[in-house]
């Protein structure tokens, strides 16, 4: 007969994030803001990081109360400084149970117009900053066990679109990088995964819509069998990857795209 403790150890893992301290970048808008708000509702204490003071403040107001903090930071400004910044946050608040890297930029640029400045910019923000944040996160004293890192990648890491070569490169690199980080950090009990959203209605998406025009944009929506995503549609996957319910998942891309890549 199983003992009570054995039964408990086999019980369904919880999605609760009570008592978890989680850094969310890109928290001033879009998926980042929705993530910060949802994690606060799941009981986490959120360190919200963003560039826009007014919008970041709006995120803080929208969150459920719970010992949250916010930091204004442009991640692209000095990525070498990011590990030290994470250590400072850990000194201020205590070690972290998770990181969600939502900050990123979109770039729709045909290859003929590509230049080193544009390429370096998107790689620095979408990929380099993510790596340096993890460098800070995995330092002794900066993380708690269990710890989970979730990178917001994209279906652009998996599929091709015209004028998206640099964006796809940055997200493909982010996904590939996350797999290696998962292997390297498993010994520290830090899991690393990505979420790959399809087209999601965010502020960034408004720019995409303007650039592409209604007709092209409608064709992209039509390519999503479940329709255009909302930030909240992506948040469930992020919360799952942060929680104990995903404790045996690391180094994977979780595609959340309304069926876009299933075709």
């Amino acid at each position: 007969m199983e003992t009570l403790s054995a039964v408990n150890s086999n019980s369904v893992p919880s999605l609760s994030l009570v008592g978890r301290r989680i850094v969310v970048t890109g928290a001033s808008s879009g998926i980042g803001r929705a993530t910060a708000v949802a994690l606060s509702q799941l009981g986490a204490s959120v360190i919200a990081v963003g560039r826009n003071p007014a919008r970041l403040n709006q995120t803080m107001i929208t969150m459920q109360p719970g010992g949250h903090s916010s930091y204004l930071l442009d991640l692209a400004e000095d990525i070498d400084a990011l590990p030290g910044v994470v250590s400072e946050w850990a000194r201020n608040h205590g070690p972290f149970s998770g990181l969600v890297h939502c900050a990123g930029i979109e770039m729709t640029l045909p290859v003929r117009q590509m230049d080193a400045v544009s390429l370096n910019k998107i790689m620095r923000v979408n990929t380099g900053a993510a790596l340096m944040l993890v460098k800070g996160m995995c330092q002794k004293g900066n993380y708690d066990r269990p710890c989970s890192v979730v990178m917001i990648s994209s279906v652009a890491a998996l599929t091709g679109q015209p004028a998206h070569s640099a964006y796809s490169a940055s997200k493909g690199a982010l996904s590939a990088m996350s797999r290696s980080l998962a292997m390297e950090l498993a010994r520290k009990h830090i899991r690393v995964n990505t979420v790959c959203p399809g087209q999601v209605a965010t502020e960034m998406d408004e720019t995409v819509r303007a650039k592409l025009g209604s007709e092209k944009y409608e064709s992209i929506i039509a390519a999503h069998p479940l329709g255009l995503g909302r930030p909240i549609d992506v948040v469930g996957a992020i919360a799952f990857l942060l929680s104990d319910a995903s404790s045996w998942i690391t180094g994977t891309d979780l595609i959340v795209d309304g069926g876009f890549t299933a075709q």
């Binding site: 729709t108 640029l109 045909p110 003929r112 117009q113 015209p162 004028a163 720019t207 303007a210 650039k211 592409l212 025009g213 209604s214 092209k216």
Partner: protein, 79 residues
């Protein structure tokens, strides 16, 4: 500020035609390489030079090369 000659040169670069070959009155629909990718390249060029994201639909409503310049109003000098 960008002058109209430089502006046309930028479009010549986008559609890969000879520098100095555009004079402004050309119909976009008759330019072989003016297509959806060229529109994206044009939007990127304007964003890079002026920090403005033009709406693709405004661009597709333009008939001539100089109509594109007119979208930018005073930001393009006519000299």
């Amino acid at each position: 500020m960008m002058n109209i000659k430089k502006f046309r040169n930028e479009i010549e670069n986008i559609i890969e035609c000879k520098v100095g070959s555009l004079h402004g009155g050309e119909m976009l629909s008759e330019l072989e390489d003016w297509d959806s990718l060229a529109v994206l390249a044009f939007i990127a060029m304007i964003d890079k030079n002026f920090g403005i994201i033009l709406d693709a639909e405004k661009i597709t409503n333009c008939k001539t090369v100089d109509d594109l310049g007119a979208l930018l109003g005073d930001l393009i000098s006519r000299k």
